[in-house]
Symmetry: C2
Subunit: 128 residues, 2 copies
Amino acid sequence: MYTIQDVSEKTGLTAHTLRYYEKEGLLTGVERSQGGFRQYSDEDLERLGLICCLKNTGMSLHEIARFVALTNEGEQTLRERVEMLREHRESVIARMAEMQRYLDKVTWKLNFFSGKLKEYEERKGSAS
Amino acid sequence: MYTIQDVSEKTGLTAHTLRYYEKEGLLTGVERSQGGFRQYSDEDLERLGLICCLKNTGMSLHEIARFVALTNEGEQTLRERVEMLREHRESVIARMAEMQRYLDKVTWKLNFFSGKLKEYEERKGSAS
DNA sequence: CTAATCCTTAAAGTTACCTCTAAGTCAAGT
DNA sequence: ACTTGACTTAGAGGTAACTTTAAGGATTAG
């Protein structure tokens, strides 16, 4: 069992953010102590791992909340969840391919400017 | 020479956004007709291409504006600009690698849920 | 000539994702 | 016991990158 601070340190999310995620329906059903303190289990951490994973690949919190809600409805939503993940995966792959094309252009520009810089410095060097 | 609408269609940015970018110092020095209408040249389009490229790889408009300002200062800022591009390129590469790791996890989860789905459907199929 | 397009400023609104504050109470670890 | 950390609600504040609105006037292409 972990306190909110433990989880904050493990994940890099602030305690504020963790409560916020809970409020938004991202990480649901976290246990509480008698006093009302959140007690995160390893299973919670794993679920949070998937949440972060989806978030970091660009899924909106809203969509993640939808995925979580489906999960909470049980087995009969498996098909829909698989479909969501599949689509998300495709979109990530597409985005990465696009990114690669942009990166190639940045690289090209960088080389271009590097060439100009070299030329400029030689010009300056020989002039001194 | 292109009107703002032409450029909007070519780039997918709205005319509003183009004016906004100009105001923010991203695309500077666009020619005007006697009447004050913007007249974009091919060179403007090329500069805009680089701007979009940087933006689409995650550089903030603020940083792009800084890059553009340096460009406008001329050759003596070449070193700094090359440095900016180099750093940006590194960060994009790092982000893509991170993304790939997250994507692998999504793929893993997808396979896991696919398996569960298959099992579930067989169970349901045999029960009917 | 006329319809469609463009110009301006200034500011308010939007979406996403937090981030922080306040005020007051309560719990846990040493 | 005491200090540190956790709890609540509710709402304000913040940033990035737009997006829209309004109002009125000027320009341009056919």
